[in-house]
Subunit: 392 residues, 2 copies
């Protein structure tokens, strides 16, 4: 059979990262983006699941409504307003199957084949592949240490046709680690308004700040209903339960809810109940402080090791949070060759070109993760990378 796949999907390849993860079992995992297992609130979840199955088993097992479990929506609305500054009076909120589903729902609701999605370059491959799969043409805007280049963004807005939205990760961007300054956030908002496009603000790591000052969400500036804000519990509770949320203007949420019905009817009730009870019955603020300490320790360890073993070979800016360090490989070294040799030596890292709109471009960066490996493996992994580096 000569399968006639849709235009967006026919050229789509599996996520490079997820393929690396499947083939690098046994390697030291500096490639993944998994939270540290000791950052999971195992005892809390265990108690909650026991309580739920004891007291509300039918609620947990029966169909729910597409918007999400109403008490959780109420709780998250409070949090989105007060903690994240990501919800106004004209906005609504629904629960999603992780933040990845927000990308997918927004794509389904806004992208027609051939529409343009602007994104930071480099950017999160899971979002880029999602936009591609819905037939979007990606157009990348260079980023700097304080976020997207505003002049380049305006140039794109002037020249590109059919731009539907800008996709941005303002906090500890994946992969580049940069946090967008408040000035740039205001500029981005004004440009989006001026050129009549939406902003999709993805904030999966916002709670994981380990240094520097909080910067208000772009969504906090939204008086015009043009910002869609995506939040996630993957990094602060656990990714395996797949719970995220989205806030946006009510007419947008109405469409996202329709799309949600067509994608999976509703988010798993057990998972929603875990998050609801974790927020209302556990000390989630203390837990976040605890995991921030874990991530600060691991980030510091990675950077210390890099400074010791890879000085002059890898150049990087220390991020203020998140899970990744983005590093430039020394000029004259073939990045893909380095990544292959590292893999052969037992260390998995992600080649930077995976995060580009055109993955075939030459690009001398790699992404290193510090949340997945044990402290021991960070030390060992960077030591091995240092040895591989010496061969150049």
């Amino acid at each position: 059979m000569d399968y006639k796949f849709s235009k967006g999907v026919s050229s789509l390849q599996p996520s490079v990262i997820r393929e690396i993860l499947k083939t690098s079992a046994g390697s030291i995992p500096l490639a993944a983006g998994n939270p540290a297992p000791d950052a999971f609130p195992v005892d809390d979840v265990k108690k909650i699941l026991g309580d739920v199955m004891q007291n509300e088993p039918i609620l947990a097992l029966q169909y729910g409504i597409s918007e999400g479990y109403a008490p959780l929506i109420k709780e998250l609305t409070k949090l989105a307003k007060e903690r994240y500054g990501a919800m106004g009076e004209e906005d609504a909120l629904i629960i999603t199957n992780g933040a990845q589903q927000v990308m997918s729902l927004v794509s389904q609701c806004f992208i027609d084949n051939g529409d343009v999605v602007l994104c930071e370059e480099p950017s999160f491959i899971g979002a880029l592949n999602c936009f591609r799969s819905f037939g979007a043409t990606l157009s990348g805007v260079p980023t700097e240490s304080d976020g997207i280049n505003i002049e380049a963004l305006e140039e794109k807005l002037k020249t590109e046709k059919n731009v539907k939205f800008l996709y941005t990760i303002p906090n500890f961007q994946n992969p580049a680690g940069a946090t967008m300054s408040f000035e740039k956030r205001k500029a981005v908002y004004e440009l989006a308004k001026k050129y009549g496009i939406m902003i999709l603000e993805d904030n999966p790591y916002g709670d994981l700040r380990v240094s520097g000052e909080e910067v208000p969400a772009i969504k906090s500036l939204d008086k015009d209903g043009i910002v869609i804000y995506s939040g996630s519990f993957s990094k602060i509770v656990a990714p395996g339960i797949r719970v995220g949320f989205v806030t946006a203007a009510k007419p947008v949420i109405a469409k996202l809810t329709c799309a949600k019905q067509t994608q999976d009817v509703h988010t798993v009730m057990l998972s929603q109940l875990v998050v609801y009870k974790w927020l209302t019955e556990c000390d989630f603020v203390a837990h976040i402080e605890k995991i921030k300490a874990i991530y600060k320790r691991k980030l510091d360890l990675l950077c210390d090791c890099m400074d010791k073993e890879l000085k002059g070979f890898l150049e990087y800016n220390r991020p203020e949070g998140g899970l990744f360090v983005w590093a430039k490989v020394k000029d004259g070294v073939d990045m893909r060759d380095f990544v292959s040799k590292a893999a052969a030596a037992g260390v998995a890292v992600v080649p930077g070109n995976a995060f580009l709109t055109d993955m075939t471009r030459e690009y001398n960066y790699i992404r290193l993760n510090f949340s997945t490996p044990s402290d021991e493996d960070i030390v060992k992994g960077i030591k091995i990378l240092g040895e591989v580096a010496k061969s150049y």
Copy 2:
């Protein structure tokens, strides 16, 4: 802001049924499709969740791979081959976020704006809305008591352009209750092959046969890699955990997996572990026999009540399984008026036009569900419908 939604989504409305469910709280629920709460294996799930959180909490909480939990894939592959006759040697299987996600993944992978999807008429609104949302034009083929009309199907295949696939629910079709004969299944397969289209075979109710003989799946005839088969645990374990699966030729599964990555990364690990352990550690065959007895009792009760209270007003064929009875309202009665009066009297049923490709068409049918209401409510609900019927 004048939102520029995608073509498929801009005219999309929320599911009529899910809207009825939201507004009919307190009514007798003959409109839903919820499994009976006493059909949930509550004790099994409770024990499994306790064991999982005791022994494998990190597996349950960490990211999984997009294809699904490998031991569950292995178990379901066995089941798909041996129990459902729905998987050949050239096929693969992945786990989905309920069967609804199979509709969505297939849509994402096959539908470009303007492509045609053929479906039985009437058919499952959740699937139809999904195809619509991806920009498909729906083309309905009339169904009879033994399934789709073959001549009408061939006529459509001759005249419609850009047909991507036929969507069919061969067992206890939702809403019409019909089971497609084996002769028709063979004819449908041959026609699809002849005209070069795919078949999407949706079998959420297959395990719930309460009378008549098993009929092999269309997928069991598939020598050409043209049938995509969708299975679900919503009706035999619980819908709130959202676990389904899909089997298809390996190149198709590869694309569906890419799409799955873009939609939600992977299915909730807790849910996958529940199903895996339920299949391997519990007596799931005995459980299915138990719930079939529940549904047979409730179906018989509904039919007995209808025969007593609504004879001459509602005409129906008793289905051999599933969750629904499809009934024709007496000629000369305005179906929508009857449904409104029933709602006002406290009984929710679904107007039949909700299941049409063109929902504005006049259509004198309603769908009645017997799994959601208690036995008492079935008796009471049908009595009320009988009283409403007398007003005509």
